[in-house]
Each structure stands twice: as C-alpha cells, then as structure tokens.
C-alpha cells in the first residue's frame, strides 16, 4: 500500500462547511488557497462536493439546525476521511459558549480528528492542521 498511502498524503481534497461561524475562519481558509499561502502546493484543492472530498474542514459551533446538514455531509464523504475543526468556536464553542442556540463544539455532532485553535485561526495554523491530519492518514493507512 506504499504508493496508495503516498498518493493519499499528496492529494487531500477539501470540503469546507461553515457551521455557523463568524466568517473569520472561513475567509482564512479561502486565504490559504490564494497566492500568499497557496495550499495547492500540497495538492490541496477546495472541492465543493462531499463525494469528492477527503478532508472536511468545519468552522464554527454547531447549532440545532445545521447539525443535521453537517452529519449528512459527513456521511456522504467516502472513506478514508478526516475531519478538521478550524477555530476556537468549533473546538469548544469559544466566545459563543452561552449563546442559546449553540450546541458547543463540532465533536458533539461528528468525530473530529484535528483541532485548530485560534480566533480566527491563521492560514499557517490551518496548514499545520491539515499536515497533522495527513500524518495520521499516513500512520494508519486508512
């Protein structure tokens, strides 16, 4: 499985879902695609389609309405897949901890592999997080 693993590490396709964040992390994810950070160097492409994606990037805290959308998206992604939470509010709820409609972190809805703290997380931190997720793919092979 050597070559397959290598290809998996070299070509992670992202699916980005805004799960009720303030847009801060979302635009940082987009900024990571643009000339100054250019994550396409690692073969990362932002796919709009859960069926093509390997890595699900979620921003923001889950709420009662979009948790269904989130788990639906997660189920549509074929294995092997990884979930990365970007931003403090997606990790624990952060500044939205006492908002009435917020469930808390994304890990209350779907299993999460990597947590990226920061409000909003820097593109560098997002790159670090994706690399961390890819290392876990490399280590487990699936």
């Amino acid at each position: 499985m050597g070559i397959m693993n290598r290809a998996r590490i070299k070509s992670p396709w992202l699916l980005h879902f805004d799960c009720g964040s303030c847009n801060g992390c979302d635009i940082e994810i987009l900024a990571a695609l643009t000339p100054f950070y250019d994550v396409e160097r690692f073969g990362i492409v932002n796919m709009g389609n859960p069926k093509h994606a390997d890595v699900l990037l979620v921003t923001g805290p889950a709420n009662h309405r979009n948790q269904r959308v989130l788990s639906n998206l997660y189920e549509q992604m074929p294995e092997p897949r990884r979930v990365i939470v970007v931003g403090t509010c997606g990790c624990t709820g952060g500044v939205f901890h006492n908002c009435p409609n917020v469930l808390g972190g994304i890990d209350r809805v779907i299993p999460v592999d990597v947590y990226i703290p920061g409000c909003a997380a820097r593109p560098e931190a997002i790159i670090d997080g994706v690399v961390l997720a890819l290392e876990s793919i490399g280590a487990h092979g699936k």
């Binding site: 952060g94 409000c119 820097r122 560098e124």
Partner: protein, 112 residues
C-alpha cells in the same frame, strides 16, 4: 478580454509571491500579534480579574488550591486578560497555538 493579459504575463515571468510556509520565505507574525497566552505564576496574585473579564470563560482561578486552569481551545486570544492584569502576570506571545489531535487544558500552579 485583454485587460487581464498584462497581469497574467507579469505574474508568469516574475517569481510567485507565495510564502512557502513550512519551508522557507516565511513571514513571522508582526510584533504585536495576539498569539499564545503565557502565565507567569511567580507574579500572579490570584485576584481572578482575568477569569472575570474573559468573554469565553477560558480561565478559571481557584483560590483554595492556588491553581489557574487555562483552556487554549476556549480562548479567543482577545488579550483582554493581558490588559486587565495588574501585576502583569499574563503575557502574550506572537506565536499562535499549534493545532492538536485532542483538546486539553493547561494547569498553572501558583507558588505561595
């Protein structure tokens, strides 16, 4: 259609502007960047101001056990605690908190 052409050709002929992050050409965060929060346990007088002003309840100060619990995954790095701290026991580094595979809190013991 030709309006974009000069830009395209200029980009093609010059070096890309990419900061190749984990490798080289990395731009360090500027001096005042709001990054990691560091506690200086020696200076702390356990007044609990930081825990009171924190908008996301990331800091807990327990007087009895002389402990500060800080959750970097709740912190929004707003620097309000840094500004409120009278003994200047809270500092802010310009490096950001690294991503992790699991969440955890930091516990800081304050000596008597």
């Amino acid at each position: 259609m030709p309006w974009m052409l000069p830009t395209i050709l200029r980009n093609l002929l010059s070096r890309p502007v990419t900061r190749r992050y984990p490798f080289d050409d990395v731009r360090e965060p500027f001096a005042g960047y709001k990054g990691r929060i560091d506690f200086d346990a020696d200076r702390c007088d356990l007044c609990g101001d930081c825990a009171r002003v924190c908008p996301s309840l990331a800091i807990e100060v327990t007087l009895e056990s002389r402990q500060i619990t800080y959750d970097p995954f709740k912190c929004i790095y707003c620097a309000t605690c840094v500004e409120i701290c009278l003994p200047r026991a809270i500092g802010q580094d310009r490096r950001y908190t690294k991503p992790a595979l699991s969440k955890g809190v930091e516990t800081i013991e304050v000596p008597v």
